[in-house]
Symmetry: C2
Subunit: 376 residues, 2 copies
């Protein structure tokens, strides 16, 4: 345990990094995947299970939590950790991304953004200062600056305008966050798919000497190659001794290739959302349990998995549960998927420590490419 927020780089292998992010509530082994606990719950999971799978940190969505139960209420209830029974680190996003993607009519200017709740249409205001205030009320350990995430494709002028405003907002967030030794506020690199703007954003943020840096505005519909190009361009401009978080990413393949470029942290709804819709991530690639080929398949999803959901239930049963829209189907496949994601990160960390990350990546990709079990 530590009193202060710290990042320690333990090993590197090429550009891949193995480290720890430490803070009073615990230590995050990086590269790390952070399960998304949207509105104070990782959907269809008990948090004890999430912890047992190896998660050192989960993510909460400020937008959702500010609408329900509301940040002042969460604070009166002792903070988010206490409310949801997760005493370990929590990262909160700034709310900006969901304001742009989920909310109704909005008005955005230099000061902040006014938006309507997607739940009841009520009007809300968010500024850089209010976002940090809310994240403080939630008692978040890693807080994110408010930024403006432009949907791609967009014109370079529009991307630049939003990126520059996001830089000014980073500065305001830094001031609002102040001096909190046990916590961190991360800046977010923007700049769309324009290399020069990405570099400008990263360099300007580096100049703010923040405790960590995220890359935002990617995995928003662009080809994977564009995302990886932007990482190649952006990461050298960020300080080597600070954690780097790629927001909203991604598939297992996205994560492997991003680790190879020097990313330390990920979050994504994919394993949880896909699980509820019948899609399983396995060492043999993706398996769609809705598919009729599984209807009478008594084999488990993966008899070598560390997860009971993958090992102890037949594909036929999983198929039945998903087809019948039974909650246990989503519970089991979410469990499997989060297990797969955490085991993948564990494999990545071990491989970096042992200097064999490249071969681990290739072997993992080859096993995906060989595909699922042949039908019975």
């Amino acid at each position: 345990m530590t009193d202060t927020f710290q990042f320690n780089l333990l090993a590197t292998d090429g550009k891949a990094r193995r480290g720890t992010v430490s803070m009073p509530r615990g230590e995050i082994r990086t590269p790390a995947f952070m399960p998304v606990g949207t509105v104070g719950t990782v959907k269809a999971m008990y948090l004890d299970q999430v912890r047992d799978l190896g998660a050192d940190i989960i993510l909460g969505n400020t937008y959702h939590l500010m609408l329900r139960p509301g940040p002042e209420r969460v604070a009166r209830l002792g903070g988010l950790h206490e409310l949801i029974r997760w005493p370990y680190p929590i990262l909160t996003d700034s709310g900006g991304f969901q304001v742009m993607s989920l909310s109704g009519l909005r008005k955005l200017d230099e000061q902040g953004v006014t938006f309507k709740s997607h739940i009841d249409g009520s009007s809300h205001y968010m500024s850089p200062e209010r976002s940090i205030e809310i994240q403080g009320l939630l008692d978040s350990d890693i807080q994110m600056q408010l930024d403006e995430c432009v949907r791609l494709p967009a014109t370079p002028d529009e991307i630049e305008r939003a990126m520059e405003m996001s830089l000014r907002w980073a500065d305001r967030c830094k001031t609002a966050f102040g001096d909190q030794p046990g916590k961190a506020m991360f800046g977010i690199v923007q700049g769309g798919d324009v290399p020069a703007l990405r570099v400008r954003s990263a360099e300007a943020l580096a100049g703010l000497n923040l405790k960590g840096y995220a890359v935002g505005g990617l995995a928003v519909g662009e080809p994977q190659a564009v995302m990886l190009d932007m990482l190649d361009i952006t990461l050298p401009a960020l300080p080597h001794d600070k954690p780097r978080y790629l927001m909203g990413v991604g598939t297992p393949d996205d994560m492997l290739k991003s680790v190879a470029r020097g990313i330390d942290m990920f979050d994504c709804v994919m394993p949880t959302r896909a699980g509820r819709h019948g899609l399983a991530f396995t060492r043999r690639g993706r398996v769609n349990l809705k598919n009729a080929r599984h209807a009478e398949d008594r084999r488990p999803l993966d008899d070598q998995s560390s997860c009971p959901a993958a090992r102890d239930y037949s594909r036929a049963y999983l198929h039945h549960l998903i087809r019948a829209d039974e909650s246990l189907g989503g519970m089991l496949l979410t469990w499997n998927n989060l297990s797969y994601y955490q085991d993948l990160m564990k494999g990545i960390r071990n491989a970096i420590e042992q200097g064999r990350f490249q071969s681990f990546m290739e072997e993992t990709q080859e096993e995906w490419a060989r595909g699922d079990l042949q039908p019975v």
Copy 2:
């Protein structure tokens, strides 16, 4: 363990009975509550949890399982126990009740009933023989006769016609079931709210010398007093040395009062369905977690409960989860409710063994009547 289906009466206290129903797959401690596993899953629960709460047996719905995944498919997959990972006893209903209540256009005559699936409108046929065949394909341990359950209020003529046909169907089901020493086929007393018809039904079924008897057609909207009157009238006409199962019942109070009249087994969707809708059963009575009074209440549902869901999570969090329609809310409250139901049955069994059932019932009812915790 035993090779044959047996009922042993271990103790009585007034009319209340403490016994065991034994069969090759396990022993049911009676009075017993059977959680409902509608379509091969007790909704929002892992079956390991259901077992850990003390359930000796669960119920499967033949109507739902015949539509999905289908009885022949279940048989090819090794039977229902194997499919769902529940190696302990399973009781299946006959499908008749859901055919009457859920399905579309139907044609019913002496031979059986043709109905349309509520899922896709496909046409299906059910007869007494087919119902037993399906329950056999599911490999059910306790199978129920097909009956016609008349919705109350109904005319005495209509109740009598359906009851008499149900008796003829009981005989056909007995023949179809044949000689299966390790399993049982229960008859179902019908007769609506007409005492003479209830007695006629019970006496005629007793004459068939079945391994167990159910009371059906109650808890279908009539006042509790009518249900209890029918039990007072019916149960003396049933053999003392066979288990008695009150179908689809009920509230905790229904169960106490029915045990007091000599009922041994219950099933009901109430604890699971109510849980998903925010209603908790506790020793202090029912608690509606949707209610705003819980929004900032950091106390658990019941700090003396044996269930982590009741003990370890705040009411404020449960309120938030239910209000936000998050699956964990239903998972936790279902867990709490099934725990409460099983603990109540355990209390009932202990009280009967110790000859203090009447005082146990009164104390339990008094604690409900005192009501929930005062608001904070």
